[in-house]
């Protein structure tokens, strides 16, 4: 029998590191098991950029106050009320302190930039992005004497009556394939990289999904916990999904495959038919709905079609747009029926009513007499070259998770809190996010519940 740690943390992302650090600061001995190799440590956290925290006044990094109440209202709006109010309000309150706590762990914020995203008031940006943030957390962890193992995928958990006893590993560490610990923090992400599992809810369509983040979040820990009596929370079909470039890699394409050009053109499916109001809402809502919309289209593919007048209006893209001098030529290149696409564009152009274009507000440029209508930002597509991006559903993360209480303690199927099991991050995001998403909340959930889970796990272990 090998050494026994006070706290075992499974995962290697933001939630895991926040838990590990706070447990260590709480006096516990800590082991972190990261399933990925060192370069890929930190799962989806590697791809993040910012975090949403409540704060009462403008700071060097944030342009204005963002009160608890306003945060709560934003959350209520995006989730349509599908959130655990007690937990959510607790998280929002705690998020205020996280802004500073995370800096004490070595993470640096970027001074507010006018920048590309209109989030300067609500969200703080990591200097150098999520991987820089992770690097800082790992350095701090190392300095504090936390043990970290890479390539250390956990393949089984020994749990008895809601009590964690040991974890089994694919690859032995110091000869051990079984690691025992007094408390467990599960922070191993969602199951978005597990296509088979996604297929249970989405059917064959899931084969056409692209996974924006790590291939290592296969939900194995989540599944073990649910199988061993932890209460499930959230709707398995709910997740954060955006439309990303169809040419992106199957996994780990990260942020740079996204498109935010929908508002400047029209979106058609493989039959060249429009299927949703491209002018419905302002970023980020319009950003977050298109993943699901495209997932519902035949073969899970769609095309954002626009013309040469707007190319500099949105972020530069990794993949260049497909271009044609005529709509027919463009259709040809996209392997769409040219006549059908011409018809759709002509009808759309004819329906456009004059207005004053302003993509920062819900303006008065709209269509009349077509279905679906484009209710804002509608302008004719008439200046060649005509351009298009092919898009597919890009899954960011899933919401099905383990139920927890305010102590980040897992709740068992019978409603009793587990003696020594805690969860943080994506694996329990569904407690707060029943559906929908507001930018930066993934990191808030991970940091807040990670820190709490670490504290509580250490407290339990040292009792």
């Amino acid at each position: 029998m090998g050494s026994k740690y006070d706290v075992l943390v499974i995962g290697g992302g933001n939630a895991a590191l926040c838990a590990a650090i706070s447990a260590r600061r709480g006096g516990a001995s800590v082991l972190v098991l990261e399933g990925a190799p060192k370069f890929y440590r930190g799962g989806n956290t590697r791809h993040t950029r910012n975090m949403r925290c409540a704060h009462d006044a403008a700071t060097e990094i944030l342009t204005g106050p963002y009160t608890e109440e306003e945060f709560w209202e934003d959350l209520l709006r995006v989730t349509g009320g599908q959130t655990d109010e007690v937990l959510a309000r607790h998280m929002i309150r705690e998020s205020k302190d996280i802004l500073n706590w995370i800096v004490e762990q070595g993470v640096r914020w970027q001074p507010s930039l006018g920048g590309t995203l209109s989030l300067g008031r609500t969200n703080s940006f990591f200097l150098g992005g999520g991987r820089a943030m992770l690097n800082a957390l790992y350095l701090t962890a190392e300095r504090l004497g936390i043990d970290v193992e890479y390539d250390a995928e956990v393949t089984d958990l020994v749990i008895e009556d809601g009590m964690f006893l040991a974890a089994r590993l694919k690859r032995p560490i110091n000869g051990e394939t079984e690691i025992r610990a007094t408390s467990l923090v599960a922070a191993a992400g969602g199951f978005e990289a597990n296509i088979e599992w996604l297929k249970q809810y989405w059917g064959e369509a899931a084969d056409n999904f692209l996974i924006r983040g790590t291939p290592h979040n296969r939900g194995s820990i989540l599944k073990m916990l649910l199988d061993k009596g932890v209460q499930e929370v959230g709707d398995p079909t709910q997740c954060h999904a955006v439309a990303i470039d169809a040419r992106a890699p199957k996994f780990d394409g990260g942020i740079i495959t996204r498109h935010d050009s929908v508002v400047f053109g029209i979106v058609v499916n493989k039959h060249s038919q429009r299927f949703y109001d491209e002018g419905e809402d302002i970023w980020p809502k319009r950003y977050a709905i298109w993943g699901r919309l495209v997932a519902a289209q035949p073969d899970q593919i769609a095309y954002i079609v626009f013309d040469s007048t707007v190319v500099t209006s949105f972020m530069p893209t990794l993949f260049p747009p497909v271009a044609g001098q005529t709509i027919a030529e463009l259709a040809d290149k996209l392997e769409l029926d040219p006549a059908a696409l011409e018809k759709t564009v002509t009808e759309f152009n004819a329906a456009v009513r004059p207005g004053t274009f302003d993509h920062t507000i819900l303006d008065d440029c709209r269509t009349e007499g077509i279905t679906p209508s484009k209710t804002h930002w509608a302008r004719r597509i008439e200046t060649p070259p005509y351009l298009a991006y092919p898009v597919r559903p890009g899954i960011t993360f899933t919401y099905l998770g383990t139920r927890v209480n305010k102590e980040a303690r897992m709740v068992m199927a019978d409603g009793k809190p587990s003696a020594n099991m805690f969860a943080a991050g994506e694996i329990m995001a569904g407690n707060v996010l029943g559906k929908g998403y507001a930018a930066g909340m993934g990191m808030t959930i991970g940091s807040v519940f990670g820190r709490i889970a670490g504290q509580e796990a250490a407290k339990h272990a040292r009792n």
Binding site: R108, L127, A132, T312
Partner: protein, 366 residues
């Protein structure tokens, strides 16, 4: 398509980075990149010379190798930067000096030192070369002051001319879309940025060397080298003024200004280059342009030799070793001067021009 393969790669990376922008807070390269959507050769050379090779954007990037996007900004820009030195060299016929720079520089250094020794020996008899000379004018027993001044100002003026012509070509290429001359405010800003090596700090934590732990060592050694060089240069200038304005002849006593400046500078020129060299050896090879190892080490070695021979000369100038040491020191300085436009020295000049350009762009955008 660009002129060279490395510029094609730099273009690819800037397209990736421009759709990502996570690194925009780290240094000047990324904000400068964000002002563009397409990149000409000149733009890429500009960005390459704006990069201080701190390594932060490599360690922080989620797409660095082994990721399939294979983003390695520091290394790509380092290669592009080195190639830009040859591309803008004046006269172009000498641009080949960059290809095997370490070799070229060391041969020139060896030849100049030998030439001074032989020259001293040929022009003077043995007793002078190995004699003990003290007091004002001692050096000029070996080589008349006017000859020394003529030779060195000739070499120096040539170096200045070649550098000015090179940087002119560079400035023209990076000038669009603003174009035109540098304004005073931007130059001042660039002097501040260069003086404190503002962008060699990985966004605040320090430079990355052997691993993902930032330290500020490279910055410290670079400061020692750079300010050491400036102090030595100041020492020479003061000495020249002494000579022509108040008729005081070298060597000067230890407490006199040229010697004080030269001593502090010389110490910097010894510790700095050794530190830089050691940091380079330890550095993660993924960050380095290994083909240019020779050029970097050659330049560092030249500075080190200049400092070392100068300091040894100072210590032993009242002994019989003075003659040979003076020859070595003058040889090193001479070689340093004439290789300046064709070696790593130019990195400072191009970087400065790029910083001016950046300051200018910021002002125009503001």
């Amino acid at each position: 398509m660009h002129g060279t393969r490395i510029l094609d790669e730099a273009d690819r990376l800037m397209t990736v980075c421009n759709s990502c922008r996570y690194c925009e807070g780290l240094c000047a390269v990324f904000p400068a990149m964000e002002m563009r959507r397409a990149f000409s050769d000149g733009d890429l050379n500009y960005l390459a010379n704006l990069c201080h090779s701190c390594g932060a954007c490599y360690v922080d990037c989620q797409f660095s190798p082994p990721h399939e996007f294979n983003v390695n900004v520091p290394q790509t820009l380092a290669v592009a930067r080195a190639e830009s030195y040859a591309a803008y060299a004046w006269p172009q016929a000498l641009s080949g000096a960059f290809a095997r720079n370490g070799l070229v520089v060391s041969i020139i250094a060896a030849l100049s030192m030998a030439a001074f020794i032989l020259g001293f020996a040929a022009l003077n008899d043995h007793s002078v070369l190995f004699g003990v000379h003290t007091g004002p004018g001692a050096f000029y027993k070996l080589m008349p002051h006017n000859a020394m001044a003529a030779l060195f100002s000739g070499a120096f003026l040539y170096a200045i001319l070649a550098l000015v012509m090179s940087v002119r070509g560079f400035w023209r290429d990076i000038g669009t879309p603003i174009g035109g001359r540098a304004d005073g405010g931007s130059v001042l800003q660039a002097i501040r940025d260069a003086g404190e090596l503002r962008y060699l700090h990985g966004g605040g934590v320090g430079c990355y060397n052997e691993d993902d732990k930032p330290t500020d060592r490279r910055k410290l050694y670079h400061h020692l080298t750079f300010y050491g060089f400036l102090l030595c240069f100041a020492a020479t200038s003061v000495a020249t003024l002494y000579h022509y304005l108040i008729g005081r002849e070298a060597p000067y006593p230890w407490w006199d200004l040229p010697v004080v400046l030269g001593t502090i500078g010389g110490i910097g020129l010894i510790i700095g280059p050794v530190g830089l060299c050691a940091a380079k050896m330890r550095r993660d090879p993924a960050l380095l342009d290994e083909n240019r190892y020779g050029m970097d080490i050659g330049f560092i070695a030249m500075l080190f030799l200049t400092g070392l021979t100068g300091m040894t000369l100072l210590v032993l100038r009242e002994t019989a070793a003075m003659g040979p040491l003076l020859a070595l020191h003058l040889g090193a300085v001479f070689a340093l001067f004439i290789t300046m436009p064709y070696g790593k020295f130019v990195h400072g000049i191009y970087r400065f021009a790029a910083l001016v350009r950046y300051a200018q762009e910021r002002r125009t955008a503001a």
